[in-house]
């Protein structure tokens, strides 16, 4: 699980170009969207693309999206639960 979190930290820093953030100071439980990092709806869509591309999971429901992207930990949980072939 923590491997996935670490992996996601690196990916998000890259795709969202979070220049001032390092994986070490990326709080997995902090509010992701609308929080300190200035992540907004366009970033969410960029993350949606990444999740589909890299993990094969489609997120196309706004309400669900809000929960999934609430924090990096939530996102990791969702990916883990929905990865094809993963034990649930």
């Amino acid at each position: 699980m923590s491997d996935l979190i670490e992996e996601l930290k690196v990916k998000l820093i890259e795709i969202l170009n979070l220049q001032d953030v390092t994986p070490e100071d990326f709080d997995a439980n902090a509010q992701l969207v609308g929080g300190e990092l200035g992540i907004d709806s366009i970033d969410v869509l960029e993350m949606v693309v990444m999740v589909e591309k890299d993990y094969g999971i489609v997120i196309n429901n706004q309400e669900m999206g809000e929960k999934i992207f609430y924090s990096l930990a939530n996102l990791a949980d969702y990916i883990k639960e929905n990865t094809p072939g993963a034990a649930s």
Partner: protein
């Protein structure tokens, strides 16, 4: 102003009659896309123009956008009673010839001439040729509000008294960029578009064109009167509307004020109503706030789809159909109205007299525009109120291959070349990294220029309220990267960020967000004359007693695109880019100098150089000129050189002439760097001999004007003088 004639083409059909018919029948023209076949999944619903409506005589190389524009222009200009060509053309378009470019890139074509219709300005030039207009051909690109903003600008041009007839409109064709772009933002309703419905999930991307021939002289017969226009900017987010519809409210309110009408005078509201959850909610909130009693209202986008820059013009024409036929269109596609909206859209067409219509268009960048359109003889049109006051420059900045303002200006004063690409660190230096993390080259340049020009001024306590931006080619990096990733991922994973960044008005909307600039926010795109177009727009539309405006232009050099698209950039020559920004108001007190644009005509206009000299003579003595900076785009050298020769022979000035592109390099908005140079000379008070190759010249009371001349396809003159 009188709407003398109009042309319309959309998924609904071609012509006013066909459009009226389908609206009367409350039928939707939205169908699965057939224009191109997506590699994955079923084609999404779209509003596509039928193949029969294109004129088969159009040259094969002409992109679909141009052909749509021409179809609408031919309708508008068909009336034999129209004896004179329009004096100006103003078009709204967001993607120009992109559909053709996409195909060329797919085929890996490197043939430069095939890309000649890519630029937005090529659509306006094509339209101007078709209707024999030799005046300015302007392009407004403010995303989905472009059509309305073009009409608003035309209205102000006519009111200025400088023009009697203007052809204004909007056009966009379907393209992969917009089809996949809006889909990547999850803004497309896969079940078809149903604006204001409880179950609405988005828009249907569409295409079309609307053209309106506007005149100040009352014709015997005319369709309607444009009574007023209102613009605003949310200054909130690059893509999402302000949640309470603050900008939408302001635009509608400004349009009513401009028309001199109270809200209760409106008989029908034609909503922007795209069908996206956010737009419809924000717009409904704004309508309820403005109207104590909400008049009948509807969005036609459930029938037509959303034709982006064309939508505002198309719906202005639909508004005139509503007036002429007493027919208020239904909100096609609506099944269960969303109770959260608190409005009751028309579920079927309503036949009743319509005196006055309010029509809305809102776009990315929080760019909002509203028009008030009235029945013929319904009211008295506002008399022309000539805008003569020049803009006063209080601060300036520029970027070039030499670096920031001081580096650029110092080298230019020494007569050295500043050609080259601005270092990325230079243009990000004064910008917080969190703010610019998503921004590529063009928006960074723009923000950097804006911040510097404002800081340089004596108006730092007042944040700019209006933004007038010019760019010849827009965000090339974003457009390139979007299409590249689309192709690489086999159409599966295009970037939403790049799509939002690809709109020409993206950079200006970033400036608005940075400064909280909620006034007019207009982006023009006129190829080599983009700065001149932005200046013209500012001259006409800047109307703020308190807050200054920013007039700014930026151009990015792009390795792949610039040599393909810009005729003046050859593969082998080094890329150059940069830009300039000017913090302006109408108060000469404390200003560095004043700026105006007294001349803008096509090189095809009869006796154009004589006409230019006459215009300049009427404004100043020939000895007033201290310096003439002449812009000769490399691709236009064979036309521009004799133009300059004729000009110097006629003007008989002793002022030195400096062909500035030899110093700035070749890029579309080089004239903004030349203008920044001119401003710097007013600061120093001396024109150095190192720049002109002659003696130093002091800027004095009697020798106090600098001319920035544009040559080539258009002949333009920017005049700068002591305040």
């Amino acid at each position: 102003m009188y709407l003398q004639a109009a042309g319309i083409i959309s998924a609904l059909g071609s012509g006013l009659g066909a459009t009226e018919q389908i609206l009367r029948e409350n039928r939707s023209a939205i169908k699965p896309l057939a224009l191109f076949t997506p590699l994955h999944g079923a084609p999404l619903p779209a509003g596509e123009v039928g193949v029969d409506f294109f004129d088969q005589r159009d040259p094969a190389a002409l992109p679909r956008t141009h052909r749509l524009a021409l179809a609408a222009v031919r309708q508008a200009m068909a009336d034999s009673a129209l004896l004179h060509p329009p004096e100006a053309v103003i078009l709204g378009t967001t993607t120009g010839g992109i559909l053709t470019t996409e195909q060329l890139l797919k085929n890996k074509s490197r043939q430069k001439e095939l890309y000649q219709y890519h630029g937005l300005h090529s659509v306006a030039t094509c339209v101007a040729r078709e209707c024999h207009c030799t005046g300015p051909a302007l392009v407004v690109s403010t995303a989905c509000s472009s059509g309305v903003v073009a009409i608003a600008l035309a209205l102000q041009m006519l009111r200025s008294g400088l023009y009697k007839t203007v052809l204004a409109g909007g056009v966009d064709s379907l393209s992969r960029l917009t089809y996949f772009g809006f889909h990547s933002l999850q803004l497309v309703d896969q079940t078809g578009c149903k604006p204001l419905d409880q179950n609405r999930q988005g828009m249907a991307v569409a295409e079309g064109a609307g053209m309106l021939l506007l005149t100040t002289e009352k014709p015997d017969n005319y369709l309607a009167e444009i009574l007023g226009a209102g613009l605003s900017c949310d200054a909130y987010h690059p893509a999402a509307p302000h949640p309470d519809g603050q900008g939408a409210f302001t635009a509608m309110q400004n349009a009513l004020t401009d028309a001199g009408l109270p809200p209760e005078a409106i008989s029908y509201i034609n909503l922007h109503g795209t069908g996206t959850p956010d737009n419809d909610l924000a717009e409904a909130k704004a309508v309820r706030r403005l109207f104590a009693t909400v008049p009948p209202l509807s969005s036609i986008k459930g029938a037509s789809g959303h034709s982006l820059a064309a939508a505002g013009a198309i719906e202005a024409i639909v508004s005139t159909i509503a007036i002429a036929k007493g027919l208020m269109p239904a909100n096609t596609g609506l099944q269960h109205v969303d109770p959260l909206l608190g409005v009751s859209p028309l579920v079927k067409p309503l036949e009743a007299p319509v005196q006055t219509v309010l029509t809305n268009s809102f776009g990315f960048g929080g760019n909002n525009g509203s028009l008030v359109i009235g029945a013929p003889n319904g009211s008295v049109s506002r008399a022309a109120s000539p805008q003569v006051a020049a803009l006063a420059i209080h601060g300036y900045s520029c970027l070039s291959g030499a670096g920031d303002t001081p580096s650029t200006i110092n080298r230019l004063h020494a007569g050295g070349s500043v050609a080259g690409m601005t270092e990325i660190d230079t243009l990000s230096r004064n910008l917080p990294s969190r703010l610019v993390r998503r921004l590529k080259r063009l928006p960074r340049m723009t923000l950097s220029l804006a911040v510097q020009a404002h800081l340089d001024s004596d108006l730092t306590e007042l944040k700019p309220g209006s933004v007038f931006m010019g760019t010849g080619w827009g965000g090339l990096s974003e457009t390139h990267d979007f299409l590249a990733r689309l192709a690489e991922s086999k159409e599966q994973f295009p970037s939403p960020t790049d799509f939002v960044g690809s709109v020409h008005n993206g950079p200006a909307s970033q400036v608005a967000i940075m400064f909280g600039a909620t006034g007019p926010n207009i982006t023009t795109s006129g190829g080599d004359y983009s700065f001149e177009q932005a200046l013209l727009a500012a001259q006409l539309m800047f109307d703020d007693q308190d807050r200054p405006a920013l007039v700014l232009v930026a151009e990015e050099g792009h390795e792949t695109f610039s040599p393909l698209l810009d005729a003046s950039i050859n593969n082998e020559s080094a890329l150059a880019d940069g830009g300039g920004a000017f913090c302006v108001n109408r108060d000469r007190k404390g200003a560095i100098c004043c700026i105006s644009l007294p001349f803008y005509k096509s090189c095809e206009a009869e006796n154009v150089i004589t006409d230019l000299v006459k215009t300049l003579d009427a404004r100043a003595g020939r000895r007033d000129y201290a310096l003439i900076l002449a812009g000769i785009p490399a691709a236009m050298h064979s036309q521009a050189a004799p133009q300059l020769e004729e000009f110097t022979a006629l003007l008989q000035t002793s002022a030195p002439i400096v062909p500035y592109r030899q110093l700035t390099g070749q890029f579309a908005c080089a004239s903004a760097v030349a203008t920044a140079l001119a401003v710097s000379l007013f600061v120093s008070g001396t024109i150095p001999g190192t720049l002109t190759g002659g003696p130093d010249i002091a800027l004095t009371e009697s020798c106090h004007k600098i001319l920035v001349l544009g040559l080539g396809q258009y002949i333009t003159a920017i005049e700068l003088c002591r305040p």
